[in-house]
């Protein structure tokens, strides 16, 4: 019995990884197409990113810079997969516990640290600059994000993502957090934080291909770069899912039954797609910030917006 349960869990884990990468790569391809249309270009086909990954994984030489460099990939991919397991997807959550809303934040930091290791091992100065910038970016967008998270936690009186999702799905769309005025502004702050998490413009400071030659990824080539692209695809899904879980009820519109699970899945897919398109459109229309501008943006304006919503929620709860 235990063995079967284990096997099922492993199968689900693999399914998660495959769904995550496929959805992520598809989104990235569509994102490139959208940016191309904004530039008045034709753009690559929507399946371009699958081809790119296949090509990278079939490269004949793959230069490594020592075992720490290899570990970086392990860190980033395993970290992001673990995050995905803790996130409710269409209401279905594989692992859960009290306080997993905090845990997810920590787990999301693992890949960045893995990057830092790998970039350090490669010894390229550009990579070092990129990692510094990535860590500063993390420091800046996490402040408004955590404040909005705390507001949600106070309102729903829980630290578990599953409960937050459940409370929001009681009444369908009407009970989504984003329908309440204090959380509307919180959602704005969180969406800007999401833009930084996804490293899209104006916050693509850590990679900045024209400034520091794609930052931490400078020395990654061949299969290493291919795996990084896979990581990026899963990360895209995980980060947008986090937002959907916090503000859009995790995409849960129906309860109980197989049909409901399927519909919830597709609603979730549609919601993260909308979020992604939003962030792509922002990316296509803004140039890159400098690092101190981004820092100022998050800590001055975003943090204040998030704090207002926090106070508002607090007053609501006390009443």
């Amino acid at each position: 019995m235990d063995m079967i349960g284990m096997a099922i869990k492993i199968a689900i884990l693999i399914a998660y990884a495959i769904i995550g990468t496929c959805v992520g790569l598809l989104f990235m391809g569509i994102g490139r197409k959208i940016i191309a249309r904004v530039h008045n270009r034709v753009g690559p086909p929507f399946y371009q990113n699958f081809i790119d990954v296949a090509k990278l994984l079939s490269k004949k030489t793959n230069i490594s810079h020592g075992w720490i460099f290899d570990l970086a990939l392990l860190f980033s991919i395993s970290g992001i997969l673990l995050t995905l397991l803790f996130l409710p997807i269409g209401g279905a959550q594989l692992l859960s516990m009290d306080g997993d809303a905090f845990l997810v934040l920590y787990l999301l930091a693992i890949p960045a640290l893995g990057f830092a290791l790998g970039a350090g091992a490669s010894g390229n100065p550009n990579a070092g600059v990129g990692v510094m910038r990535a860590l500063v970016m993390m420091l800046s967008y996490e402040l408004p994000f955590v404040i909005t998270l705390i507001a949600l936690m106070i309102y729903y009186d829980t630290t578990s993502l599953a409960t937050i999702v459940k409370m929001q799905s009681i009444d369908g769309i009407k009970s989504w957090a984003i329908t309440m005025p204090p959380f509307m502004i919180a959602a704005f702050a969180a969406d800007m934080a999401l833009q930084g998490m996804l490293m899209e413009q104006p916050f693509d400071i850590p990679v900045a291909p024209h400034e520091i030659a794609s930052g931490p990824m400078v020395e990654f080539g061949g299969k290493y770069l291919g795996s990084l692209m896979l990581y990026k695809a899963i990360a895209l899904v995980a980060e947008t899912t986090l937002f959907v879980d916090l503000f859009l009820g995790g995409g849960v519109v129906m309860h109980s039954g197989v049909m409901a699970a399927i519909i919830n899945f597709f609603v979730w897919l549609g919601l993260i797609f909308l979020l992604f398109v939003l962030s792509i459109l922002i990316a296509a229309s803004f140039p890159r910030f400098r690092i101190e501008q981004a820092f100022g943006f998050y800590w001055k304006y975003e943090a204040i917006i998030a704090a207002i919503s926090l106070i508002w929620v607090y007053i609501m709860v006390i009443k």
Binding site: P44, K55, H210
Partner: protein, 191 residues
């Protein structure tokens, strides 16, 4: 005992065919803008000619790139850097030489410090003639390169591995010449 040798070869052939199909549709280039040709790259990449619809994008570093695009003449000093860049790339890798300067020296045919035939120093898969070639020419060259890759004919990187000693020999010859010239100049200054 596993597969027979013949089967293995067949498998390998099929895999490499698939790999070639993928790599032809996603050519990432690093353009080494040396000569005048660099001005032709922005229109190729941006809205007017939009190379991205063929899966061609420019990459920031040689480690990530598949195609090395050399736009124009190379002085001996730049050649050294080009070779460094080429050797940092991960195979399979391809070289497109751009403009008549790389073919036979072009209008620098009698210059003392440019190299005349790029092919002597690194394996070139494809030349684009013209001084300078227009964006249509560049895209045409890329499509030709895709065809070559598909047929398995773009094997410059294998050639470089196989005849490494000869390429190095040629490279050393020009570099030594450069070093000698520098020493001569230093001596002249001293006197």
């Amino acid at each position: 005992m596993g597969l027979h040798n013949g089967d293995k070869m067949m498998r390998y052939e099929e895999w490499s065919k698939l790999a070639r199909k993928a790599s032809k549709k996603s050519l990432w280039m690093v353009h080494f803008c040396t000569g005048c040709g660099a001005v032709e790259m922005p229109p190729v990449m941006t809205s007017r000619y939009d190379a991205e619809r063929f899966g061609i994008t420019s990459m920031a570093t040689p480690r990530q790139a598949d195609v090395l695009l050399i736009t124009g003449y190379l002085t001996v000093k730049t050649l050294r850097r080009v070779i460094q860049v080429y050797e940092q790339m991960q195979s399979p890798k391809y070289v497109i030489a751009f403009g008549s300067c790389t073919i036979n020296g072009g209008m620098y045919w009698d210059s003392y410090n440019t190299i005349k035939h790029l092919e002597k120093y690194i394996p070139v898969d494809l030349y684009i003639a013209g001084c300078m070639p227009r964006p249509e020419g560049i895209i045409n060259a890329f499509i030709k390169l895709m065809k070559l890759i598909d047929e398995g004919k773009a094997r410059g990187w294998e050639k470089y591995q196989k005849y490494y000693d000869r390429y190095k020999e040629n490279q050393r010859r020009v570099f030594n010449f450069e070093i000698k010239e520098e020493q001569k100049e230093e001596k002249n200054e001293e006197h």
